[in-house]
């Protein structure tokens, strides 16, 4: 447990309820220390890419101490396990390291048409507002193709999670909404436009956002239409609030054909300090030199007609500032 000492969390987002420390799930688990350091333990890297295993089959998802609260337990457990199991086989090239649980990556079994593939991209901003990078989006999409062993991947549902976006059931006042609109147009637009293009070309079948209020959905729609892009078709809301969701949002979603889906993901799914403490036991140099998380991509493949989840995993990319 020492590798994850709370004092290391000084990041502004804190760990709060998403903390790995007070998680009853992790309490009983010994965070294992490596038998011996890997050969490259003391190298530092300018980029880290991590593909977790299939969390449905590693026991990671199944054993979560499930509740309806937002959480990042699944991601943290999956990362820990992947670092533990797959670090030795990491690929290092030009200062970039890729750690992948190869045993569970690759093409889906059987007929692709029976699957529904969902991807949710969390942009992580470590120091306030930043422009969402189309380059990161493209990385994420390429990585997903790698994970699912397909060079012509069609994604059935793609959800964009903006940094620090939290559903506000009371709605926002005018200045907050104006700020949101400014961010949207200045910081988020290139990525939304790129996703919109993919939606229009059919590589994404349904495009959505997460934790938007009714007003924010209206703003995104207005901006998108003005700029010739698509409006969101899905909005994810955490279940904790769902049964008392504002009527306004429900009616708006109905009228606009936006599906309101549930999710349980933490607002800040991977704070920098959390990544650093996870890396500490495995790549101490990389943990010490700030490798900042850039994005987390969560994906799943469902065999729709049988209600079976065939694959679920995360892809994390971190880089030097």
């Amino acid at each position: 447990m020492t590798a994850l000492h709370p004092s290391q969390t000084h990041n502004g987002h804190g760990l709060g309820q998403n903390s790995i420390y007070n998680s009853s799930l992790l309490a009983h688990k010994q965070l294992r220390t490596r038998a011996g350091p890997v050969a490259f333990a003391h190298e530092s890297f300018k980029q880290l890419t991590l593909y977790t295993g299939n969390t449905m089959r590693t026991g990671t998802t199944g054993q979560l101490a499930s509740n309806l609260n937002k959480s990042n337990q699944e991601l943290l457990l999956a990362l820990e396990e992947t670092l533990h199991n797959s670090l030795e086989a990491a690929e290092i090239k030009d200062g970039a390291i890729t750690v992948a649980d190869k045993s569970t990556l690759g093409p889906l079994e059987g007929d692709r048409s029976t699957y529904e593939i969902t991807a949710k991209l969390f942009f992580i901003s470590s120091n306030g507002s930043t422009v969402l990078s189309v380059e990161q989006l493209n990385h994420a999409l390429q990585n997903l193709q790698t994970a699912l062993g397909s060079s012509s991947l069609v994604i059935d549902n793609f959800i964009l999670a903006l940094p620090n976006q939290t559903f506000d059931e009371n709605g926002q006042d005018e200045s907050e909404l104006q700020e949101f609109k400014d961010d949207l147009e200045q910081l988020y637009w290139p990525v939304w436009k790129a996703l919109s293009d993919l939606r229009q070309s059919g590589q994404i079948k349904r495009l959505g956002v997460s934790e938007f209020s009714k007003q924010q959905l209206e703003i995104l729609k207005a901006v998108a239409l003005a700029k010739g892009a698509v409006a969101p078709e899905v909005n994810q809301v955490n279940l904790q609030d769902c049964c008392v969701l504002p009527k306004g949002l429900i009616n708006y979603a109905k009228a606009e054909g936006i599906e309101l889906l549930t999710h349980g993901d933490a607002t800040n799914i991977l704070p920098g300090a959390t990544l650093a403490s996870l890396l500490q036991a495995h790549l101490p140099a990389a943990a010490a030199s700030p490798l900042v998380p850039k994005f987390v991509l969560k994906y799943s493949a469902l065999i729709t007609n049988r209600g079976l989840i065939s694959r679920k995993g995360y892809i994390v990319e971190a880089g030097s500032v």
């Binding site: 009853s24 799930l25 309490a27 009983h28 688990k29 294992r32 449905m56 089959r57 590693t58 026991g59 998802t61 199944g62 054993q63 979560l64 101490a65 499930s66 509740n67 309806l68 457990l77 396990e81 533990h84 199991n85 045993s103 029976t114 529904e116 969902t118 549902n157 899905v234 809301v237 279940l239 769902c242 049964c243 969701l245 599906e259 309101l260 889906l261 549930t262 999710h263 349980g264 799943s300 469902l302 729709t304 007609n305 049988r306 209600g307 079976l308 989840i309 065939s310 679920k312």
Partner: protein, 667 residues
Amino acid sequence: MGLLSLGTPMPWDEAKKYADHVRAHGIIQFLNLWEATKNSQKDCLLWGDEIEYMVVSLDDKNEKARLSLRVWEILQDLAKEEEEAQKDPAKKLLVDSTWHPEYGRYMLEGTPGEPYMGLPRDLLAVERNMKLRRELAIRFMKPNEVPVTLTSYPRLGCAGDFLEPHHDPHGPAARSLFVPDDIINAHARFPTLTANIRRRRGSKVAINMPIFHDKNTPRPFIDPTIPTYNDYPEDKNAIEEGGALPDHIYMDAMAFGMGCCCLQITFQACNVEEARKIYDQMAPLGPIMLALTAAAPIYRGYLSDVDCRWNVIAQSVDDRTEEERGLKPLKDSKYRIAKSRYDSIDSYISNDPSNKPEYNDIPLVYDKDIYKKLSDNGIDDLLARHISHLFIRDPLVIFHELLNVDDNESTDHFENLQSTNWQTMRFKPPPSKHSPIGWRVEFRSMEIQLTDFENAAFAIFIVLVTRAVLSFNTNFYIPISKVDENMQVAHHRNAVLDKKFHFRKQIFPQSRPGTPSAGTPSASPRLANATLPARTAAPGTTGAAHLSAGLDRSDEYELMTINEIINGDPAKGFPGLLGLVNNYLNTLNIDIETRCEISKYLELIKKRANGTLMTAASWMRQFVQNHPDYKQDSVVSEKINYDLVKMVEKINKGEVQVPELLGSFSV
């Protein structure tokens, strides 16, 4: 229940001569079906529930509730309705159900018109359809008749009148001291089944459930209401021959068991292997769900010390001869048989590598010749053992007209045995070679709940568990003898809160050595043959041979409360069945309305398991014990029975709140 063919049934003396004929052709029929369907692939989960109702006739003037024997008429009306719905698409939606007769002439069985699909949104159709069924049934009833979903009818078999219209007990088929043959479904199959069980057994069935000793219950309790007759040789069974045990509620007819109602769920698997996997994985959950759905605390007018029906039914159709039961040395019978043909399963059947031979630790009695026939025709060991185990039983009802059928097309003889092995799980081949339906598994242990909301909750929970099982590739295996122990424990009064059950600790596959384990780290299994109980191999069993090479698996499971099994134990990293289901649901794209609705059902399961809410059994006990008419003597009077039925009716209509049973959920 089972197959309902029309024809002239043979009495036992005649039927037994054809037992081998039915078995031999039954196996040929199974093999033909197997050849045609063994590679069948279905790409959809389809599933359905079965709800059984008792129709009660309320006599408000005299404050009496009696079971209505008019159900045959109601069924005819329902059948007409179904038929018309087939022709009229507008009506189809309004009917959307299928109705079947059941053992009791007061019973109805309703199933959804079309199977449900596997998407979360489809789950919301379940309660709606159950409500529709109840409303539809009510439409064809008299104003004073009401369908109730009670597992056991409290005053079935009591002195006085409990049937509408009244009939005196003691007919030639059941020869019961308590119930008339008129209580049995008039279809030839049912009286014959009743009589042939008695004849094959060589005596009436004898069901004894321990009495609940209240303050004023005599000790020992010797039931003063058991009547005496002198018509049939069996009339001596109860008292002179000691069939009625002291301190027990004695019952002597199939109707006491098969007249119970239950909630059964059937799933279509994508192929035979998946069906076998679901069968095995769900089997250890049988007793857990029995205890959690417990709803049968009252028998023949007395509070009992058990909460569930299962053993009552097991004893009510126990057709084993004295030799088979081990009371006499084997002479005319072929085997000693440990259980009734209505009981928990005796073997796991999946070829999944997680199914270790040591888990099948009950010496399995099976028909060697049938095993060989199956084996010679390419059926693997586990499945051949399963089928040849089912085939140790005799066919009880054989129809003259159906003795010789085309084994290429018919499955009648196979089904004759398959559908009269009433076990906790049923592994079901496609109905025929040409059927669009695939391999199926039926989950059979649950008791029926008082309201559609609760029945929907348990049905949905079970189907979600199967999805989680397959998605997480769980491993619930424990030695099957431990499942049997659980089965007995499940019956105890308030077992849901007071008892512990064997359950597997590590339920996820440990694919790699480095994978962290949830729960107590399990030590490597050690060789410990000595700890296995010594077994005497009866003829036709494999016991010791199968076990001798095995590993001791006792560190793989431990005793847990139902609360731990359902709601998990965070300290041990054990997610519980509900945790599994939630973790499964959290990965799906579910719209908010659906998720909120499903959450209500799961909340009920959670609260029943942790004791926040009572089981129907506990609630009924409390109702009886708080009733002004109750004299602390275990007796459930006609008035209490009437008020209980009225109360259940009011709950269903939403006219009364019972937060101790249902919390704030609306039915």
